[in-house]
Assembly symmetry: C2
Homo-oligomer: 110 residues x 2
């Protein structure tokens, strides 16, 4: 399991609540997180958001550095998934309630 940029992903105990919330506070990233929650693991390029690659990459970086997402390389492709266990252990209920709320609500709106 070759994890890319592992040094940039905080260890569980270093995940910071304010930073997690900051990462989740962007409508695009919220949509990304929602998609990851629905599909468990997604290749970077498979987000059919109307965004250039560099922007998408920026948002993944924020998600990664805040501790929300981990990235795994497989050949040329990178696969992202939520760090659900780590987040639930560190901040119980935060991610799951946000995801549940995002599911039924106004994601995408500004």
């Amino acid at each position: 399991m070759t994890n890319i940029n592992q040094q940039k992903q905080p260890l569980r105990d270093d995940i910071n609540l304010a930073k997690v919330l900051q990462a989740l506070s962007d409508p695009i990233r919220l949509e990304m997180v929602l998609k990851l929650a629905n599909e468990s693991e997604i290749q970077c390029g498979c987000f059919d958001l109307d965004l250039p690659k560099s922007s998408l990459s920026h948002h993944f970086k924020v998600l990664r550095e805040s501790g929300i997402v981990t990235t795994r390389r497989e050949g040329k492709e990178l696969f992202n998934s939520l760090r659900i266990e780590d987040l639930e252990a560190r901040f119980p209920g935060v991610l799951s309630s946000v995801i549940n709320s995002a599911r039924k609500a106004d994601i995408g709106k500004k």
Copy 2:
């Protein structure tokens, strides 16, 4: 019950998830919310945070406009409280889990 700036406080159904998370993503505001959670209602000036009044006021404004806090005037003083019912109804678990996590964790750190 004279509520100040009521027009600036969103109605329950207009509370926006991304904006709530954005409001909660600042360490100072997280600390304010935590204090409000512990004491139910607080006068603006009673936050012994090392901040000028205008900064404190700014943070209250963000909390108010995002729908997290409501403000009530009593004489010269303004009292703030969390809109727990509205938030729990609209985004179940979000505020409460954030408060619980903030209680035990690293609030104040950057």
